[in-house]
């Protein structure tokens, strides 16, 4: 049967559910009377959302803006702050002074000159950290400065940025916007059964509170449970814990000492004996969590490490334990059901890859929403190809953070074992022995992390390519010197002009940002 796709049913009211519902509703003008599409979100009144993911990518700015959301409202209501990248502390050798940055801006002059090659070949630049030599953002972070001013319009920036946000508040905020502005229908009901059509599509969901809910496309945003794709369709789970060892998170919220404490403008990720601790500054509190591998660490010891990181004010009773199963489904779109968010998979919290996959999935579903059932299998195949590739690249990039460490605990030593490293990453590492990561290494339309990100992590972790292989080609030394100088100049200008992060957040709460 070749019926029109008119009704989209999203199951699950967490971040993934509301972002997907909102993006589809905005893209298809669901709130307009002449729209051909309806979007319904079914949320369980009893299941609580996980609500731990608090860091985003810069892509979130476009995601929010496309849903017609005011950045001021978002920042005020989700206790959101700005994020200008990640600081990785104690990942290289575990020393106190050991850190590097993965900022959100390309190296200076990246499209015209590869400063990384010059940084390696010339001792003159090499004494400064790579990220600081080629990008001004590290200094903004180190000095606690904001990426924009109060006069910068909503979603506009001086330095590129993403957000830190309260995931629970974010879901509520999106719920309000989606139902009040975008025309998403919200049903509070527990799904008890799935009814199929004769050819195996999902026909409707049976609920205790709202009877049968019919639909043409069903989006599974039910979290780790994976109610439709996993439980109903039995799509196998591909385990990646042999590559990424993290399997447990211990999360806690920590208040600021005083209302005007500085807010870090970057995610701080600090290496531990068998994992790492995230530290995220919101406007009203910090979110801190320890992710570790239970194969290498006991829960008691992991809690101890978390307690000593937090220091005063650690509330042992408030710690939430969340099990993590690293991997993803073998397929994400099967028949008329597509999974977005944890139901599709999860690797580990590093580099906020989960939320960006939600945004990318929501965008692709919204933009390529099949007009008729006959098109759906084609879109599904494209979706599966695209996202299998993306999961693969993310696994490579996350693993890259571990394989160059010199730390000596078993967790870190085992992370460097050949048999735990995907072949695709081994290939890249082989190539990068002789040349720096460039766009030539990432030629798909569906890349997730740009070449520059690989440079920041590789050279932040201290990886040294054999500079002799490229030195004879480096004949733009003057241009390179200009670009290094330009970066220093921009550091001077921006650090003088930009306000403190806390100050800007307070002003946004008080006055708001202008739309233009």
């Amino acid at each position: 049967m070749d019926k029109k796709i008119k009704s989209v049913v999203v199951v699950g009211g967490g971040t993934a559910g509301w972002i997907t519902a909102g993006r589809i509703a905005a893209e298809h003008r669901v709130a307009n009377s002449d729209s051909q599409i309806s979007v319904t979100l079914v949320e369980s009144p009893t299941t609580k959302i996980i609500g731990v993911g608090e860091g985003t990518w810069p892509t979130m700015r476009a995601t929010l803006s496309k849903m017609g959301i005011s950045e001021t409202d978002f920042i005020r209501q989700c206790n959101a702050t700005f994020k200008q990248g990640a600081k990785f502390a104690r990942w290289v050798n575990g020393d106190k002074e050991d850190f590097y940055y993965h900022p959100l801006m390309l190296p200076q002059g990246f499209s015209k000159i590869d400063l990384a090659s010059y940084w390696h070949s010339d001792g003159q630049y090499g004494h400064e950290s790579f990220s600081n030599a080629v990008c001004f953002q590290e200094q903004l972070c180190e000095q606690g400065l904001a990426p924009k001013m109060i006069t910068t319009p909503e979603y506009g920036s001086i330095a590129n940025y993403a957000y830190h946000l309260d995931a629970g508040k974010f879901a509520t905020f999106l719920h309000d916007h989606c139902t009040k502005v975008l025309g998403v229908q919200h049903i509070l009901a527990d799904v008890t059964a799935v009814k199929s059509t004769p050819d195996g599509d999902i026909a409707s969901l049976t609920t205790t509170e709202a009877g049968d809910i019919e639909g043409d496309l069903f989006v599974d945003c039910t979290g780790f449970r994976s109610l439709l794709l996993g439980e109903h369709y039995n799509i196998p789970f591909v385990d990646h814990s042999d590559v990424l060892f993290i399997d447990t998170a211990l999360a806690v919220q920590v208040p600021y000492q005083s209302e005007d404490d500085d807010i870090a403008c970057h995610t701080i990720s600090t290496g531990q004996s068998a994992g790492w601790i995230w530290d995220i500054g919101l406007s009203n509190r910090r979110g801190i969590g320890h992710v570790y591998s239970s194969r290498y660490n006991s829960e008691d010891n992991a809690r101890q490490e978390l307690a000593s990181y937090v220091g005063d004010g650690f509330d042992a009773d408030a710690v939430r334990k969340i099990p993590i199963k690293s991997g993803h489904r073998e397929l994400f779109w099967h028949r008329n059901c597509v999974a977005v968010g944890l139901s599709a998979g999860f690797l580990e919290p590093l580099e906020a890859s989960a939320i960006v996959l939600v945004e990318l999935s929501a965008a692709m579903i919204a933009e390529q929403l099949p007009a008729r059932r006959s098109v759906m299998d084609i879109v599904a195949r494209r979706f599966n190809d695209t996202f299998l590739y993306r999961w693969g690249r993310i696994i490579d990039f996350l693993k890259l953070h571990y394989i160059l460490s010199q730390r000596t605990e078993p967790f870190w030593v085992d992370n460097r074992r050949e048999d735990t490293i995907p072949d695709s990453l081994k290939e890249l590492m082989e190539v990068w022995k002789y040349q720096t990561p460039g766009d030539r290494d990432f030629t798909s339309n569906n890349e997730v992390f740009p070449a520059a990100s690989y440079q920041y992590v590789l050279y932040g972790m201290g990886f040294k390519p054999d500079a002799d292989y490229s030195r004879y080609r480096l004949d733009e030394t003057e241009n390179a010197a200009d670009q290094f100088a330009k970066n220093r100049e921009i550091i001077g200008k921006t650090t003088a002009a930009l306000p403190r992060h806390r100050e800007l957040i307070s002003k946004i709460h008080q006055y708001g940002l202008q739309r233009i």
Partner: protein
């Protein structure tokens, strides 16, 4: 921070203000906050634009006085070179305080404050002079005007009539100049405004202000002329 104190007829009986010196407070401002009640008079001399308060990001109506920070092309040889001066210039060195802005204060550190020359504030009978009375009127107009201007801008925002405006200028000496951070009314959108919105602009009395503002943008050419003249003078003095 300058020393601003409440004006007191006993304490300040002999105080005088030199008005020309008072105008010096605007000598290094390239944007001067203005209020809509003075738009018609301003439009004869200055481009009226909307800019953002650098401290709060909020929109304010301003007269454009120069093309870069610290440049006031109306400040020439120690004088304000225009027949009409914005209320915020006229008011110097006086301010108001108190919850109803009903306390008149004076900036004692202003170079315009004197005891020997300039306009007296109080006469021999400790009565306010015409000069001071006039200052009170200016301050009242400013205070009321700020509220009206705030409402005016809010309405423009609500009807999405504001657009960013970038000035791309080439000066006679060949030097290009780019001025950003200015906003004005989008004429296209104004002309396509739904009838009921246009009617409410008329009823609120904003049409005149909008057209004054749009017409005043022609003064940008006069401002460029001032800049060219200044560069010419500078070249004559220092050589090119």
């Amino acid at each position: 921070m300058s020393q601003t104190v409440a004006l007191d007829k006993n304490h300040h009986a002999n105080l005088r203000v030199i008005p020309q010196q008072a105008q010096q407070h605007g000598a290094e401002e390239c944007l001067m906050p203005v209020v809509i009640s003075e738009f018609a008079r301003l439009a004869a001399h200055y481009p009226i634009v909307i800019s953002k308060n650098s401290d709060t990001g909020q929109f304010v109506c301003s007269a454009l006085l120069g093309f870069e920070k610290g440049e006031n092309l109306f400040w020439k040889q120690g004088q304000w070179d225009a027949a009409y001066k914005p209320l915020n210039v006229q008011r110097q060195p006086f301010f108001t305080a108190g919850s109803d802005n009903d306390i008149l204060t004076i900036n004692q550190d202003s170079p315009s404050v004197s005891t020997t020359e300039g306009e007296r504030l109080f006469d021999n009978n400790q009565q306010e002079t015409d000069y001071l009375q006039n200052i009170r009127t200016v301050l009242t107009n400013l205070f009321q005007g700020e509220k009206h201007s705030g409402n005016f801008i809010q309405t423009l925002e609500q009807f999405e009539l504001l657009v960013p405006m970038t000035l791309d200028i080439k000066l006679d000496n060949g030097q290009p100049k780019k001025v950003e951070g200015l906003y004005t009314v989008n004429e296209q959108r104004l002309s396509e405004l739904p009838d009921e919105h246009f009617l409410s602009l008329r009823k609120l009395g904003y049409l005149g202000s909008i057209y004054s503002m749009l017409t005043s943008l022609g003064q940008i050419y006069a401002l460029i002329e001032r800049k060219n003249k200044m560069l010419e003078t500078a070249t004559g003095w220092y050589g090119s």
